[in-house]
């Protein structure tokens, strides 16, 4: 059921994200061409539009993630969503995963836009592809050299861990929004649900920030208290550091998820 739900949630947001992505990529190509042809007006215009699009994409992503949950789960559409034969977890996770999916896609589009502009800044477009080929070849050579193989694997593992950490961090902010909106189902926030959600966001932020600070300090303190940790160097130290902060964020995410689940299951009160 999660797969089916995810399909509709991703589709719902695609109507806004895809035109944005296309616009960003088209303007990137335009900017790259302007750079390549050294057309100053084009370079300036393209950069301005791209900057504007970047800001608009950021704001739209934020608004869309919030409204998608609010309208689809707590608004009128909630009459359908909450009567579908699926669990509350499916509903929350589907919204969360689709939001993460579109945020990661936005990141990928931003990287692509950057690469396109980088391509345009080069005198010869062929140089760009040669540089990319050199980078890939070097990476491949590094992995295929037996003495570096272990290091290469560790770097890949580190990158995967960093990616997971980034996803958990994104999920944390989204769940913070969801939790605040879910509070709008409970008195006194029901008096004005939208204002109530904003107030709930700020109220949740206080203990959340304190707890985050305390947990990160605890992680830091633990790191400096044990000699064996201090004696670690290079990759192991980095692994432990990233893993620890990831676990802290995961713990905070669970803390935010539990009230959302409880409210949607037991305190739902659609208008």
């Amino acid at each position: 059921m999660l797969r089916k739900m995810l399909k509709y949630d991703i589709q719902a947001m695609s109507k806004t994200f895809i035109p944005f992505f296309i616009a960003i990529l088209v303007i990137s190509v335009f900017s790259a061409l302007s750079m390549h042809l050294e057309w100053l007006i084009g370079i300036f215009g393209g950069a301005t539009i791209l900057f504007g699009l970047g800001i608009a994409l950021f704001v739209t992503s934020l608004v869309l993630i919030i409204t998608q949950f609010y309208k689809n789960v707590l608004g009128d559409q909630g009459y359908l969503t909450n009567t579908l034969p699926v669990s509350v977890d499916t509903i929350i996770l589907s919204k969360l995963f689709s939001a993460i999916f579109w945020l990661i896609s936005s990141g990928i589009v931003a990287i692509l836009a950057f690469l396109i502009i980088l391509m345009g800044s080069m005198d010869n477009v062929g140089d760009f592809f040669t540089s990319v080929a050199v980078v890939f070849q070097s990476a491949f050579d590094f992995i295929s050299t037996p003495e570096y193989f272990k290091d290469a694997l560790l770097i890949i593992l580190l990158l995967v861990l960093l990616f997971i950490f980034a996803v958990l961090l994104i999920a944390n902010e989204i769940l913070h929004f969801y939790c605040a909106m879910s509070c709008s189902q409970i008195y006194p926030f029901t008096k004005n649900r939208i204002a109530g959600s904003f107030i709930a966001y700020l109220l949740i932020n206080i203990p959340l920030s304190i707890l985050t600070a305390v947990l990160f300090s605890a992680v830091g303190f633990t790191g400096t208290s044990f000699e064996w940790i201090q004696n670690l160097s290079g990759y192991p130290m980095m692994f432990i550091a990233i893993l620890s902060v990831s676990l802290v964020i995961l713990f905070l995410n669970i803390l935010l998820y539990v009230p959302i689940r409880y409210i949607l299951k037991n305190k739902l009160n659609l208008e």
């Binding site: 399909k7 719902a12 689809n72 009128d76 009459y79 359908l80 034969p85 699926v86």
Partner: protein, 246 residues
């Protein structure tokens, strides 16, 4: 899962009433909306839940459909308490439009086919054709009335055990009203039951088998329509006007 419940109860699901409500209480803060509501609906009945505005009709439907949690009492749909399992047994038409504006009609048909195994897509498509509504039309561009009809088509195209229709004829023109009643009757089968809330009794009283009068959070009249007419010597509409006189 269904089978297990049946076995536990030592009988077939068909022998159970479709809906059983016992001593249900519901409060919104200090305001008590339902105060010990009890009734049951056997299979194959069209039941009218009647009462003035704000008497708790929608609250009852929300409790049955699992959109609200009760404070006290018991609700059973085919012998099962409201939850994920009963959501596949109930086809609920809320008063509000729950359609996603970004969707085309074909998208919402796909959604119903994906989530409800009892959704009869052919039946829904036939009804859309009857109304000359294209599947490629976007919901965003449709009038409120058309959206209401589509929602009713979706709800009535399911082969559910219990249909909950919240004010299905409120705020629609007489022609649409007739279409809605026709759709309800045409798609109703003897193994299911329909619970309809309305305050426009005159238009629908002919289709009811049983009526429930809800007043100040309590069921004040519950019975077969013919028996009530005979007992009080009045039409249901006439009786309603008398019971709920301001």
């Amino acid at each position: 899962m269904n089978q297990n419940t049946e076995l536990m109860q030592g009988g077939s699901i068909m022998e159970l009433p479709v809906l059983e409500i016992k001593n249900v209480h519901k409060k919104y803060l200090s305001h008590s909306v339902l105060e010990g509501v009890s009734f049951s609906i056997p299979r194959g009945k069209i039941v009218g839940l009647l009462g003035p505005n704000g008497c708790g009709k929608t609250t009852i439907l929300k409790l049955i459909s699992g959109l609200l949690q009760l404070d006290e009492g018991e609700i059973r749909i085919n012998g099962i308490c409201p939850g994920q399992q009963t959501k596949s047994m109930i086809s609920y038409l809320p008063e509000r439009s729950y359609l996603n504006d970004w969707m085309k009609i074909s998208d919402i048909l796909n959604l119903f086919s994906d989530f409800y195994t009892d959704f009869d897509r052919e039946r829904a498509e036939q009804m859309l054709t009857d109304l000359k509504i294209s599947k490629e039309e976007k919901l965003k561009t449709m009038s409120k009335g058309t959206k209401e009809k589509i929602q009713l088509i979706l709800v009535m195209s399911r082969r559910a055990s219990l249909y909950l229709l919240d004010e299905p004829i409120g705020g629609v023109d007489p022609a649409t009203r007739e279409y809605i009643l026709h759709t309800i009757l045409k798609n109703f089968d003897e193994n299911s039951s329909i619970l309809i809330t309305t305050h426009l009794i005159q238009d629908v009283e002919t289709i009811f088998d049983q009526v429930l009068f809800l007043n100040q959070g309590k069921i004040v009249i519950d019975g077969e329509v013919d028996e009530i007419r005979e007992k009080y010597g009045k039409s249901i509409d006439g009786l309603f006007r008398e019971v709920f006189r301001c």
